[in-house]
């Protein structure tokens, strides 16, 4: 997994609640068997609208509304966001599976209270650069919560499967006692 420490950038503001993963990457692009190249199809249908936020804002940070990434479990959604150039997302809440998928690929999903997300949206709209710092666990100066294990995996870019394979003896013992 790609390591993440911090990012400083302008931000894209997508102020809508309940953005589902079908919008982030529509179904016709899930037929690819590769892991890369999804960025050009990010928000494929919404980008047809010239007013759509992504068509006139730039940045490596996406600031979104509550329940971002709800719906389908497709990891293609974080793959597309990451491939497009986003390194971190800030939102009041996430679809559980999307959040988990993002953590697994080194795309940091920061969760902040709605009023703090609102503050960052206003600063981003004014063109300010924001810093999301995983070591300090802050986004635009607001402290955020992320468990130590996920943080460690992201900071070091750890291969979680490799970590679990070290528990082989425990897994085998579990299997034996439940056979």
């Amino acid at each position: 997994m790609k390591a993440f420490r911090s990012v400083t950038s302008t931000a894209v503001v997508l102020d809508r609640p309940d953005v589902d993963t079908d919008q982030i990457i529509p179904k016709q692009f899930l037929k690819r068997i590769e892991r890369s190249g999804f960025g050009e199809f990010l928000f494929f249908d919404w980008r047809k609208d010239p007013e759509f936020e992504l068509n006139h804002q730039r940045g490596k940070i996406l600031i979104a509304g509550r329940n971002f990434g709800c719906g389908s479990s497709r990891e293609h959604a974080p793959w597309a966001l990451e491939d497009y150039g986003f390194e971190a997302i800030v939102a009041p809440s996430y679809g559980d599976i999307f959040r988990q998928n993002s953590l697994k690929i080194g795309l940091l999903p920061v969760e902040l209270p709605a009023d703090q997300v609102r503050d960052l949206m206003e600063r981003a709209r004014a063109g300010a650069e924001l810093t999301v710092d995983l070591e300090a666990r802050t986004a635009g100066g607001h402290p955020f919560v992320l468990d130590d294990f996920s943080r460690e995996c992201l900071l070091e870019g750890l291969d979680e499967i490799g970590l679990t394979l070290r528990e082989e003896a425990a897994i085998a013992a579990y299997e034996q006692s439940h056979a």
């Binding site: 809508r16 609640p17 309940d18 589902d20 079908d22 919008q23 529509p26 179904k27 016709q28 899930l30 037929k31 690819r32 068997i33 590769e34 892991r35 249908d45 509550r66 329940n67 709800c70 719906g71 389908s72 479990s73 497709r74 990891e75 974080p78 809440s93 996430y94 679809g95 559980d96 599976i97 988990q100 998928n101 697994k104 690929i105 468990d147 130590d148 294990f149 979680e160 499967i161 970590l163 679990t164 394979l165 528990e167 425990a170 897994i171 579990y174 299997e175 439940h178």
Partner: protein, 446 residues
């Protein structure tokens, strides 16, 4: 203190309690389909890893399958289906391929083949894995990185979810289905009402449901944002399992939540007030009674939804006309769903302005329906009778809506473009879908 059903299943699957890391949870059954697995198998290959327990892994083909008799899958779909066959052969994973007679939607075949059992942990790279919670299993959707993790280790690092009990008090009125119960519950708590939670559905109206009805309810848990939904196993569960040759494990009787178990949150639904439901917007929480009108938009998201759906506030739901009707998907494609829809359309005909299709959830459901003559009922009424697959639930195959087409659908998601770019989806029960096909506008069975 007593434990909940979720806590009992969780506790009995912990391989290691994390010191500074989440619990490592053992996975009893890993279901695999063609869309979310190719990159996971490729990851194993690149790292020189193998599938730890191919005997606890089962694959099927569903999302990309063309359901028309003569329609081939498009070349990209075919490539993905072929990749699954190659990967399963290389890694020794059993595959129910198209044409095997055991294939179908992954959440239909698991229960049907007797693989889904109470107290299990079940994962699949698909958010509707929550369906299997109907048996009192802890079943949830995962992404491709986690699919690879489970293939390699048969375990998953997880943090326990919070618990939410939705208690359905009272009895269903005639004509109210399991789909209506779960849509009403989502309307009540919202599409993010279950985020971070595992839902347990309980109460007399849940206990009264058939296994098929329980599948429907648990299936839609993810549409409330919940990771999983569960229903305590009981005699209904055991009878269903016995019919599929599964021996009843007496320990399953200890799974239901203890009377003094405490849930992090509780919601009560008064079932007597629930009526047939129809969604009017672009997420499953935007839902109303079929007797209502399209509501005044309460916020920007609702305004946007009405524009996308081409609807005006104040329009009676029953006056909305449809172009298409789809009966199928992992929510409503089981034999009981098809029987219910067939009973509505028996001896009648689909409205001339509607194109309607029925897509059985599995090859076995199709065979059984044909043995009961349901296919004849549907085709005589003007429905298309198709082969098993996910079909128009998500339009990864040739079954899609054209832009602007409006569809009454028994599936689970009315997201923008879900059934085809520009398509407009209204979620309903099989009974309402069938009646709507006959009338050309939203209707309940006569």
């Amino acid at each position: 203190m007593g434990r909940t059903l979720f806590e009992k299943v969780w506790d009995s699957h912990v391989v290691t309690h994390g010191e500074g890391r989440p619990d490592l949870l053992y996975v009893d059954l890993h279901l695999v389909h063609e869309v979310t697995s190719p990159q996971a198998f490729e990851g194993l290959r690149l790292a020189g890893r193998k599938v730890r327990r191919p005997d606890l892994t089962v694959a099927t083909m569903d999302h990309n399958v063309a359901t028309g008799d003569d329609t081939p899958a498009d070349p990209l779909s075919q490539q993905q289906l072929d990749a699954l066959a190659t990967n399963c052969a290389e890694f020794g994973v059993p595959l129910h391929a198209t044409g095997s007679g055991r294939e179908g939607i992954v959440h239909v075949i698991g229960p049907e083949l007797g693989l889904t059992q109470p107290g299990m942990t079940i994962v699949c790279g698909d958010s509707h894995t929550s369906t299997h919670g109907a048996f009192g299993a802890l079943a949830f959707g995962i992404g491709t990185s986690e699919v690879e993790h489970v293939l390699a280790t048969q375990a998953l690092s997880q943090r326990p979810a919070r618990t939410l009990r939705i208690f359905f008090e009272g009895e269903r009125a005639p004509g109210v289905t399991a789909k209506d119960l779960v849509l009403a519950a989502i309307g009540e708590i919202g599409v993010d009402g279950g985020v971070g939670h595992v839902i347990e559905y309980a109460g007399p109206a849940i206990e009264a449901l058939s296994m098929e009805g329980r599948h429907e309810v648990c299936n839609m848990s993810i549409e409330a944002g919940a990771r999983a939904g569960m229903i305590a196993p009981d005699e209904t569960t055991f009878a269903y399992l016995r019919e599929r040759g599964v021996e009843i494990d007496e320990r399953w009787r200890d799974l239901p939540s203890d009377p003094d178990a405490v849930f992090d949150r509780e919601v009560v639904i008064d079932v007597a007030t629930v009526t047939p439901q129809v969604t009017w917007g672009t997420n499953p929480g935007m839902v109303a009674s079929i007797d209502d009108v399209v509501p005044e938009p309460a916020d920007e998201a609702a305004e946007r939804a009405l524009v996308y759906m081409g609807l005006e506030a104040g329009t009676p739901i029953r006056e909305i006309t449809v172009d298409r009707v789809f009966i199928g998907s992992c929510t409503n494609s089981r034999i009981e769903d098809l029987r219910a829809a067939a009973a509505v359309v028996q001896g009648r005909h689909v409205h001339p302005s509607v194109r309607a299709m029925v897509v059985p959830g599995s090859a076995r459901v199709k065979v059984q329906a044909e043995a009961e003559g349901l296919d004849q009922v549907f085709t005589a009424a003007g429905f298309e009778w198709r082969r098993a697959g996910c079909s128009m639930c998500l339009g990864m195959n040739p079954d899609v809506l054209a832009p602007g087409e409006r569809c009454a659908s028994t599936s689970n998601r009315n997201f923008e473009g879900r059934q085809g770019a520009g398509g407009r989806t209204h979620l309903v029960s099989p009974e309402v879908a069938a009646a709507t096909a006959l009338e050309g506008h939203f209707a309940v069975p006569a």
